[in-house]
Symmetry: C2
Subunit: 332 residues, 2 copies
């Protein structure tokens, strides 16, 4: 059977471009026992994938040049030689960017569309949701009445963190990059305040004005100068879950910035880099709680869906120019 | 009764100088009930005192201009109107820089010279010892076989951290600023290796060579470029207790450096600023364990003692040019 795949054509230096990807037609092998033929329905694009395009040592092994990109996928089972799946099942897994693929059964999990729409298993009930939950609840350790700032607030993780902060009784301020995002954060997702960093003349002062008691938790999705402005307002005993550094992912040399350790030291701040794949033991608790909050209407989610498998590379690039609100997905 | 005190004459900008201090003769009040007349024996000078010379918000309130400097002191009781102390007792407390002083009984603790020499209550059994213990054991969470790097290794805290690392079965590499310190670390304090950062042509490479499995705990006493070099070799799931940033204390504007968050994130590193005064509940455990290790000969200590109360300011300044090995003290 014929399929199409998207491979890494070469490792980008700095911002990736479309020619870093290549489309290829391939012939799939015949199904063996324990294997499943699937067809992709939704493909996830996520900021962390930029790191895997580099050769450097990181938490996930690098993508290989001339091999398919791998990411979160929701797929439909077309044919099964597995006892666990039947044709028509909806499944999710970390799969090759292929239109159709033959996959080992152990790489797949069935999804329950009665809890949430299938695409949510790449978002609020998938990696971004787990990331928001683990980073905010387990590393951030929120207490009612505390002040929370979220950068990249309109992204897939950010919109969840903001709502978790409200559920936990915190005041929450989001930072995002357009007036439309600011409006959504306040009107749809219940953020107390939101700042458009692209038009704000003095971000440090704006945060100081909105956080008169200082910032107790800074959930950092972006890094760079936005983070400098927040950390200048950080409180004693604050927690900074380091979730993303999207502002810096495309730098080929480490960018310079003000040294933050003196402030982290003098204010007894915790900064914790974390990778969601190390916290899998917390996922059942996270899914249970988040599902309840979704059903109770306390936790909403939003997606930016691009149509067409052929637009996967452009969707991934769009993350770095802030094209998305909420989870960015491609629908095949 | 007449005494002499040392006050903060003005707030230094950048590196403090002798004219930032002023000596004054004062008349002490008559003793009231609950008060004790003490005479200073040992005065502690510590890097954190530089922070208190600034007006900025920090963990300890700033010293006040025209008021005495306050620091750790071991003193002898000359006269007592307290039921807790008698003349001749040796006590310790955070006291004014005065030759003699009238002090509230609640500010003083008796010391037990049978456990360790009196000056040790400003060092290994005082603030530096508690700092090393809490930072290394409770924040660093060492596991046998891990690799530990300590900057400012020949300082009061550093020599203790290195020995605690050996007690816990770790490999430990110290960074210090003279050949004599390097020799001491290896020959007297049992460090596996030590690097002279002043003569090392490529610190990042030197650390990589000595830490082939990466750095699991970086106990940071200094900050700046030394820390950059260590953090470039940091391991997955490493811990960085931020104890001091002596390289940066005298900067009046925040210095620039490479942004570290991308590495902290991609390697799931914890960085924790900590202030020993927030961990007082751990002191009894720390004193008990450290006293046992001292008696068993597993934990040694060293001091640099400057003679003369009048040399207190110069001793404090000496910390920033690395004049001391181990704890810097002034003997009255």
């Amino acid at each position: 059977m014929v399929s199409t795949q998207i491979v890494l054509a070469n490792r980008p230096k700095g911002m990736p471009v479309l020619t870093d990807f290549r489309f290829e037609d391939i012939e799939l092998p015949v199904l063996s026992d324990g294997e499943v033929l699937v067809e992709g329905v939704y493909y996830s694009v996520d900021p962390y994938m930029r790191g895997r395009m580099n050769a450097a040592k990181s938490y996930a092994p690098p993508f290989e040049v001339d091999k398919p990109i791998i990411g979160g996928v929701v797929a439909k089972v077309l044919e099964s030689k597995s006892l666990d799946f039947v044709a028509g099942d909806l499944v999710t897994g970390r799969l090759n960017w292929r239109k159709k693929d033959v996959v080992q059964e152990k790489l797949l999990k069935k999804i329950d569309a009665s809890i949430a729409p299938p695409s949510y298993y790449l978002g609020i009930l998938g990696m971004p949701g787990m990331t928001a939950y683990v980073g905010f609840i387990h590393i951030g350790k929120p207490k009612a009445g505390e002040t929370v700032v979220v950068s990249g607030a309109a992204g897939a993780v950010g919109v969840i963190v903001g709502q978790l902060a409200k559920i936990k009784g915190c005041r929450v301020i989001g930072i995002a990059g357009s007036e439309e995002k600011i409006r959504l954060l306040k009107e749809e997702f219940g953020f107390d305040e939101a700042i458009n960093y692209k038009t704000c003349p003095d971000l440090k002062k704006a945060i100081a004005d909105l956080c008169p008691n200082g910032v107790d938790i800074y959930f950092d999705n972006v890094g760079g100068e936005i983070s400098d402005a927040v950390i200048n307002n950080i409180n004693f005993h604050a927690r900074i879950p380091l979730c993303g550094q999207i502002a810096l992912y495309n730098s080929s040399v480490p960018p310079m910035g003000p040294r933050l350790q003196p402030m982290l030291l003098s204010r007894s701040v915790l900064m914790q880099g974390f990778i969601i794949f190390n916290y899998e033991s917390l996922f059942p608790e996270a899914i249970k709680e988040m599902s309840q909050w979704i059903k109770a209407g306390k936790l909403k989610f939003t997606e930016t869906v691009i149509q067409g498998f052929e637009h996967l590379p452009i969707a991934l690039l769009g993350l770095f120019s802030g094209e998305n609100t909420g989870k960015m997905l491609v629908k095949a």
